[in-house]
C-alpha cells in the first residue's frame, strides 16, 4: 500500500468539538484510493468527518490533508474534491442545468462548454428530462442525483458523498451504485457514508465504522460480512397490491423471509443480498407495471451488527 501523502487522505489525531459537544474525537485515518464507506448510526460523526475533509469545518485539534492538499486552501482543494453534502437545499430559482453549469463556469469552463458538460453529466445520472426544470420541484431522489451531478461534474479525483443513497428508488440506487463502481476504479477516492451497513459494505474496498465520535473499526473488516449474513437486512415495501410482487420474491434465493403487512398494503422482506433483491423488485416493476410507494431498508436490525462490531472492535 502506498504511503505517499499525495495519494492518501490523512487525518492525524483530529478532534472536533462544537463548543462542549463532541463531533469526532482523536481520529487518525489514512485512507487509500478506492471505495471507502463510512458507517455509523445517527450522530456518530460521519458528516462532521466529511465536513472536516472538505474544509467546511476546521479541526479543533489535529491535521488533515487530502492528497497532499491542506483543507484550508479551497482554491486547490475543490479541484480535487467533489462533495455531495447532506443538506437537501439549493440556491433559489436554480434549475438542474444552471446549478451544474454555474459550478463548471466557476471551475474555469466558458459558458457554452460548461453548458455542454453539465448536460452530459446530468445525462449520466438519468436526469436529462428534468434538466431545465427548477430543482425546487424535483423529488427527493432527483435532488440527490442533481447534487451528485454537481459533485462529479469537474471529474475530481476525490468524491465525498454523505448518504447519497437516501431517497433513491431501487432502480436509481442500482444505477448510482454502478456509477460509484466506475468512479472508484482507476486510483480515485470515493468516500460514501451510510447508516446502513448492508447498503455499502458490498461495494466498498474498506469500511470505517464510527460510533459516538470515535472510529471503532477500520479497514477490510473480517467478520462484517459474516455478521451481516446472520442478520439479514430487512426491507419494507409498500404498494397498492403487494401480493403478485410478494409471490415472485418469496421463491427467490436472495429472500430469506417475507411477511405481509396486516393492512395488505405492503410487506417486510429479509435479504442477505440487497442488490439482488432490488434487481428482482425492479424487474417485477418493469414487467408488471407495478407502482411502488416505498422500498426502504428498515434500520433497526443494523443495531445488532453494530452491537457485535462495536462490542468486539
Amino acid at each position: 500500500m502506498s504511503t505517499d501523502p499525495r495519494e492518501l487522505i490523512l487525518f492525524q489525531e483530529v478532534s472536533k468539538f462544537y463548543g462542549e459537544v463532541l463531533g469526532i474525537n482523536r481520529v487518525s485515518l489514512s485512507i487509500p484510493p478506492g471505495i471507502t464507506s463510512l458507517v455509523g448510526p445517527n450522530g456518530s460523526g460521519k458528516s462532521t468527518l466529511m465536513n472536516l475533509m472538505t474544509g467546511l469545518l476546521h479541526p479543533t485539534v489535529g491535521r488533515i490533508s487530502v492528497r497532499g492538499t491542506a483543507t484550508d486552501d479551497p482554491e486547490r482543494l475543490h479541484r480535487l474534491v467533489g462533495y455531495c453534502a447532506q443538506p437537501d437545499t439549493f440556491p433559489p430559482a436554480a434549475t438542474g442545468l444552471s446549478f451544474v453549469a454555474g459550478f463548471l463556469e466557476i471551475c474555469g469552463l466558458g459558458r457554452r462548454a460548461a453548458q455542454l458538460r453539465a448536460e452530459e453529466t446530468i445525462d449520466q445520472l438519468g436526469l436529462s428530462d428534468a434538466a431545465g426544470r427548477k430543482v425546487a420541484a424535483y423529488s427527493k431522489g432527483m435532488r440527490q442525483r442533481i447534487k451528485l451531478a454537481r459533485a462529479i461534474a469537474h471529474d475530481p479525483p476525490v468524491l465525498v458523498l454523505d448518504e447519497p443513497l437516501n431517497g433513491l428508488d431501487p432502480m436509481a440506487r442500482a444505477e448510482v451504485i454502478a456509477l460509484f463502481r466506475r468512479w472508484g476504479a482507476g486510483g480515485r477516492h470515493l468516500i460514501v457514508s451510510s447508516h446502513i451497513l448492508h447498503e455499502v459494505d458490498l461495494l466498498s474496498d474498506q469500511v470505517i465504522l464510527m460510533n459516538q465520535g470515535y472510529v471503532v473499526a477500520e479497514g477490510d473488516i473480517q467478520g462484517v460480512r459474516g455478521e451481516m449474513t446472520r442478520h439479514p437486512l430487512q426491507i419494507v415495501v409498500r404498494c397498492a397490491d403487494p401480493r403478485p410482487l410478494a409471490a415472485r420474491l418469496i421463491g427467490a434465493d436472495s429472500v430469506t423471509d417475507l411477511q405481509l403487512h396486516a393492512d395488505g398494503g405492503g410487506f417486510f422482506a429479509r435479504t442477505r443480498d440487497p442488490e439482488g433483491f432490488y434487481r428482482l423488485v425492479q424487474d417485477a416493476v418493469l414487467q408488471e407495471g407495478l407502482i411502488l410507494e416505498t422500498v426502504m431498508p428498515v434500520d433497526d436490525d443494523v443495531g445488532a451488527v453494530y452491537q457485535y462490531l462495536i462490542g468486539e472492535a
Binding site: 482554491e75 486547490r76 453534502a85 437545499t89 440556491p91 433559489p92 430559482a93
Partner: protein, 292 residues
Amino acid sequence: MSASVNPIDRPAILSRGRWAQLRVLTRQELRLRATGLWSLPPLLLAFGPTFLLLFIVVVKHLFGPGDSAQEIVGGLADWRQAFAEVFHSLMLRVCVFFGCAAVFLNSFRSAVAGRYLHYSYLSPLRRELVVAAKYLSGLIFTGIAFMLGSLTMWTAAHLDGPLGETLPALFSAQGLRLGLTYAGISFLGCLGYGAVFLALGLRFKNPIFPTLFLMVWESINLFLPAGLQKLSIIHYLQSLGPIPAKTQLISVVAAPTSAPVSIIGLLLVTMGLLWLSMRWARGMELDYGSDA
C-alpha cells in the same frame, strides 16, 4: 443514463484566473438578487423620495394654486438649500442606510438561512472572491438604484414652482452638475454602508442590535464632539454635499472634511471593512447547526 461517457477520458478543466472567477460569481450573484421579491424594498427606498416629491408637487398643484414654491422658500438658492436638507435627512440617513441594510446584511445571511452557502465554499475558489462578488453585486444593484433615485429626486424637485424658471435651471450646466453630484454621493453612501452591512451580516448571527447601534450612532452624529463625528459614514457624505446642509440643532458641527479627503477616507474605510469580511469568511465554519 448512458455509461458511454467515461469521465476519466474527459479533458481536464483548466483553472481560471481569479478575475474571470470574480466576473462569473458576480454575474451569478446578480441573477440570484433578481429572483424573488426581496429586491423590492430597496427599490422602494431608492425611489420613495422621488414619489414623495412628486406627490407634494401634485397636491400643491391641486389644492394650493396660489402657493408657488417661491412664496414658501424664496428663490432658487433657498429652495435648493431645502433640497439639500431633504436629501441628507431622508435620502442618505434613511433610504440609503436602510436600503443597504436590506441588501448587504442579507448577502451571507440569506445564503446561510437558505442553506446553500456551502455550494460556494465547495467550489475551487478563494472565499475572498465570494465576499468580493457578494459585495460587488450588492453595490451594482444599490449603486444603480440609488443613483437613479437621486437623479429622479433632483428632477422631481424641479417640477415644483414655475416650470419656465426651474426647468432651465435643471438643465443648466450647474443644475446637471449638482444632480450628478447628489447621485455620486448616493453611490458613495452605498459603497460605505454596503461594506459596513456586509461585515455586520457576516460577523453577527443576529445583526439587529449592531444595526440599531449603528443607526443611533449615525443619527446622534451631530451631537457628538467634532472628533467623534468623523468616525461615521454620514459625516463624509455630508461633507461632500455641494450645498452644506445647515442644521438648526445647537451643536458643534465638525468642519466639513474636504472632498478628496472624504472620498479617500470612505474608500479606505470600505477597503478595511472588506478586508475584515474576507478574513471572517475564511475562518467561517459552515454546518448550519446540528439538525442538518
